[in-house]
Symmetry: C3
Subunit: 397 residues, 3 copies
Amino acid sequence: MGCKNCCNACLQCLFGYETNVMLVINNKGVGALFRLIQFLIIAYVAVYVCWIQRAYQDTDSVISSVSTKVKGNILTNSPIEGVHVWDVPEYVIPPQGENTFFVLTNVILTPGQRQSKCPETPSEVTKCESDSDCKEGYSDVHGNGVQTGHCVQYSDKIKTCEVQAWCPLENDANIPKPAVLSAAEDFTVLIKNNIQYPKFKFKKRNILPHINSTYLKSCMFNRKTDPDCPIFRLGDMVTEAGEDFSVMALKGGIIGIFIDWNCDLDFSERFCIPKYSFSRLDNKNPENNVAPGYNFRFAKYYKINESIDTRTLIKAFGIRFDVIVFGMAGKFNIVPTIVNLGATLAFLSLTAAICDWVMLTCMKDRDNYAKHKFIHLNQNGDNMPLSSMEASSYGTP
Amino acid sequence: MGCKNCCNACLQCLFGYETNVMLVINNKGVGALFRLIQFLIIAYVAVYVCWIQRAYQDTDSVISSVSTKVKGNILTNSPIEGVHVWDVPEYVIPPQGENTFFVLTNVILTPGQRQSKCPETPSEVTKCESDSDCKEGYSDVHGNGVQTGHCVQYSDKIKTCEVQAWCPLENDANIPKPAVLSAAEDFTVLIKNNIQYPKFKFKKRNILPHINSTYLKSCMFNRKTDPDCPIFRLGDMVTEAGEDFSVMALKGGIIGIFIDWNCDLDFSERFCIPKYSFSRLDNKNPENNVAPGYNFRFAKYYKINESIDTRTLIKAFGIRFDVIVFGMAGKFNIVPTIVNLGATLAFLSLTAAICDWVMLTCMKDRDNYAKHKFIHLNQNGDNMPLSSMEASSYGTP
Amino acid sequence: MGCKNCCNACLQCLFGYETNVMLVINNKGVGALFRLIQFLIIAYVAVYVCWIQRAYQDTDSVISSVSTKVKGNILTNSPIEGVHVWDVPEYVIPPQGENTFFVLTNVILTPGQRQSKCPETPSEVTKCESDSDCKEGYSDVHGNGVQTGHCVQYSDKIKTCEVQAWCPLENDANIPKPAVLSAAEDFTVLIKNNIQYPKFKFKKRNILPHINSTYLKSCMFNRKTDPDCPIFRLGDMVTEAGEDFSVMALKGGIIGIFIDWNCDLDFSERFCIPKYSFSRLDNKNPENNVAPGYNFRFAKYYKINESIDTRTLIKAFGIRFDVIVFGMAGKFNIVPTIVNLGATLAFLSLTAAICDWVMLTCMKDRDNYAKHKFIHLNQNGDNMPLSSMEASSYGTP
């Protein structure tokens, strides 16, 4: 009998089905509350978790490659330089179009600089009366060179400390106004952007499949009429960012070109299209700022003869365009689905706890309910007399 | 007695253990179904969630720093330039090796340009019969300069609008074929990549600890024989990307060098090694495209004398290599573990609901089961007569 | 009666409230265990999940734009070049301050190079005895040009293969020591960093609102006294990274400037401030390395006359600073909250399973408990005699 008994027990263990014994209470109030909470939780899952947050999806971040190409020419006619046509190799710096490109809009040229000595530009720190005010070898962080220790005539009235530097020094006190290349707002830029979501083996580019070469040769991005054209007019981008090109051209700035590739890959690939937006990234507010705008200096070096180097220093003001590609792709995946549904199911069990609590504390029949819901067993294994239990209403679910 | 009673109740509340009363049904069918569903859920958790998706791990995205160094020399012998050796400072642009580097493969040189007037290159738009066809100050986006308003002789037969520009204009109608630097496929590039996962304070680089300097001086990446060597032959990378170097060299293009640092940090650090892959990022298809390939223009500026600037315009075709580092590290963390296991446990409770439903609707003994599973209580607190209950089978779990 | 009955059943189905029948066992041991496990799980959720891991938050990754501006001048006095002042356009390469900038610290100049023939620098590979040791057209990866096939005198004692190259060749055997621009440690850099968390429509920059322009003109970052100043002394950053500037200046290297924007957006915006840290990214260890340090070559091109190009080759050693912006913002969101709380609730159900198991296997009263907990029903629908059931203790929850 032992073995047979044992086998029997095992089978029972494996195939004996256990189910909770339920107390069904025919109370419309609690019943309605119970259904209401259940409905709310299920509605929340259906609408918010699934529909709005798409929590059933696995996600991946975008990987992107950008190339850009600016087009346009400008003719300027300045007293110093004469008639000059600026073309792409001159005003796009660096010339290679990557995800950040800079378009020159204003410029201060200082031609003919060479290593020599000259008076520093006047400021609080550099003005002097005699050599004793200057310190040989001292280099001010905001200065243009290294002091020689001499105090020399800057102009008829002003004496400043002499510096060893690339002389003559640049005079950037007066920024050309209007900007030298303010017509740059008519330039266009072609932005090519290839993205991929490696987790989903998904690749796409911002030149959409339905666009043909003929259209690309003549189109111009317009949010309403040409939202898919990857060619942008600089002035339009600055305007969309809420700025005035002619003002921004004076001192420069940074414009972000945001390409948003958020995609729901459960839908067809053709719904996964880039959304462009533009905003100014630097702070134009002169308060709480230092060096507003965007500029940098570079130089073109020349040799007059074997031994003498000369250079043209260029202080370049302009607009740096940062192409910032971001996005998340989502695709159905069983793990987040299970996690989200499971967690919600667990919440459904809270419903029962709440209703039990309501039933056992607020209902006038609570003692009767408790009597049927709880079977008391004291340490002796006997059912406790109910009278002593009535204080112990509801504990934990 | 009040206080004693109260204390008693409190203790009971705290230490009285509540457990569900279970109905054990000795039905092999439902029992087997119950165990099967339980087994499936547990198997899913073990295999898919834990093993494949590693959902018990916390994750972090890679932070990366890349430096690159190209090596190689090429000798060209063109009628215009004569014998010329190209070395790294000439063909790598910009010269500083960052995560994106460009290797020149083809080039159109236009030496001796200076600011002056010359006839525009002929096209639909620029051809003219008389001055009235040209518009002073007009600058075509695809043109090379700003029109002066004159119609001048371009060649014996063709007249085009005159432009103020850097003259003579570049003639890029004929791209050198084969590419000037087609031998660039033998160049090599050393890629140094340092990564970190800040959340896990994990740092590593692509030069693995077991690699010594001697090996590094002579090795070359090969997927089979040298998968850890960080030195790559350009031609090999292009071939792995499925392209023909000599064809790609003509008009240029963009190759992505993907370094995948996906790591399971629960294992030893030495299993965390980079995986390299290569693919072409731009679109070589001439349909649905504009400006295929990859090129840009830059110039070298010279001074003939104090006042006259001249430049050599270079239209550079070549291959841009984008080193794209991506990856996720995972490490055991209690939060996602609890979340995933908890959610699965919640799913186990679904099992009971399904089996209850089967038991109470499909089994022939269903009335008997229902009678034992459900204890009915009507609003008067009395047990309802079972006869009126038999229609109400199974409600909610 | 049929319809009334049916309606009745439906209503019962909808509003009949079902609740588990519970067995309350007055056993202090199991009760205490039950409460303890419950307490531990709730404590874990409260402290770890909510407080430390903030698992109730939705997260977003930072999007960033960086601009940098270096300031400072250095005077050098070398026998070749004479007195020379280095300013920003000369030593910052490329001149435009993006998120990666390079500061020249050491330099090997090779002026007057032009396309011609000269003996290769001596090495194992390039030394020769006669022309037969050299191979016309061969270009060694580590060499400087393309061999002509001749073996020529390099010095009195050494003969090397002749190469077509930019001659004279650079001699980089002796790196200037101390570094030419070792004083660069006093340079300062202003880092402007604008970030945004697009999911939360949150924007901020590293120049905090309470900082005014006057302070910005004179401040210098100091972890203790000026932690919010965005102007950094190069030497300080290198020191914080645990390196010696004068040593690093010799051969160059890469320093990471990490800006950590981890923010809890449930708190006020003003607590969301950047944390700066610095560390060396390249490997300075000469073992297990190739080309330690950081250097690259570039050239300045000159024209002696219409036909002859000459260039000054510059081997630039220096420190590349990579500004690496990272961070995650978290904000309360109902989905992760529900998921985490729900999953924890599901774990609470485990508690009951554990306690049941303890109660039904370890307690001496276990048979009595089992008798009350389990109601057995055999396939005939009758209650099974308890005697045959006692072996079957506890199955599954």
